[in-house]
């Protein structure tokens, strides 16, 4: 079985590799794109835009109460002051986790995700298990991540069915009083901004 699965995977790889290359070659030969356009897009999302952006937003919301308020009132304008926005960040809505309310985001229809602050989504976010279960069994999904919320915590699931993009602002970990924004940002994990995890504890800071 293991062997079969591996073969299937490998054959899809080479098939898709060839088909994708065919599309690219045709578009280049017909003059639709410059080769550098492809490179800049890959490099941007591999190296420049990722969850470090969102971590910066969250850390600022933890220390700056005016920014925090603005972030919840007009997320798009607030993140723009940090230089974030544009593609999949044109309409950003920040969601506030509290001791009583836990927020979690999903795109059941495909893979909408706040690229501008989190980069491209992980595979599990785009997968059928997450898309099918996040709305009907959020606690079960959280268990897959090792997250166990108190029984009476309200869970709000946000299905990204339009061009709004959601960013969860997790609660600031205890024991971080007086920390700088930069140090706090190191505690903010990608999953804590999707709602399937928590920030790291102060003792786990890298």
């Amino acid at each position: 079985m293991e062997h079969d699965r591996h073969d299937d995977h490998a054959s899809e790889l080479s098939d898709m590799q060839l088909r994708t290359r065919a599309l690219e070659t045709i578009l280049l030969e017909k003059g639709y794109i410059e080769p550098a356009a492809i490179d800049v897009l890959i490099e941007t999302y591999e190296k420049k835009i990722g969850p470090r952006n969102g971590a910066q937003v969250v850390a600022k919301a933890w220390v700056d109460s005016k920014f925090r308020q603005w972030l919840f009132e007009d997320g798009t304008a607030a993140i723009a002051t940090l230089g974030f926005g544009g593609r999949s960040g044109n309409h950003l809505v920040a969601l506030e986790n509290t001791p009583a309310v836990h927020n979690m985001t999903v795109c059941t229809l495909c893979s909408c995700y706040p690229w501008a602050v989190l980069g491209l989504p992980p595979l599990w976010y785009k997968s059928a298990p997450y898309r099918s279960r996040a709305v009907a069994d959020p606690r079960g999904v959280l268990k897959d991540f090792g997250v166990d919320l108190p029984k009476d915590t309200e869970i709000r699931v946000w299905d990204s069915t339009a061009e709004l993009r959601y960013l969860v602002v997790p609660m600031r970990p205890a024991g971080t009083e007086g920390w700088s924004e930069e140090k706090l940002a190191d505690l903010v994990t990608r999953d804590s901004m999707i709602g399937t995890g928590f920030p790291k504890n102060p003792g786990d800071a890298s």
């Binding site: 290359r21 070659t25 229809l109 009907a136 869970i155 946000w158």
Partner: protein
Amino acid sequence: MNGAADMGGMHGFGPVVPEKNEPVFHADWEGHSFALNMVTGVANLWNIDAFRFKRESLPPPEYLNLSYYGLWTRTLELMMLEYGVATPEELKTGHAIAPFKKAERAITAAECDNMVRCARPFSREATEPAKFKAGDKVRAKNMHPRHHTRLPRYARGHVGEVVRIVGCHVFPDSHASNRDEDPHWLYTVRFDGRDLWGPDGDPTSTVSVDAWEPYLEKL
């Protein structure tokens, strides 16, 4: 349409399995599939809703058997064929076959960088006032159109509460036909877990969707 993409509430896909230290792309071709789809968007050959409609129109067995970027590449093949950017023979040989129509101009790296970073809101000027306000109870229509729609099946027919008036936004159902932005008021509507899923639902959970006015009816 009621396609394989609309997965909310389905059973049988198993647990969510996160991958440790996951790369952004798992193979070079995935990055290229991603970039090609972005760049054809910049070239404005078709709009994002038309692309989504094509993707969700794939027969369910095909949709479910393709990897994520496999799905993107497959959809791009179909779009290039439909919009006359490539012929079946060209897809087979992997090259442009003369005589062909040359593009008016090539999309540059600077234009792509601009697309990534610059704001391009989907909100439009409203021509009439919003029908609903925050706090209103509304019912998501029981509808099953054959065309593109963004109202997931699990919400249809259920009663929820408007929690936010988002604004007047491009309407994907019309936009996917590539003809008209047809802006409509957009709302965030929250449903109770028990209302959506009955006794199998989690009473401590709510689910919200972003729903355009034509998806909703007054109670």
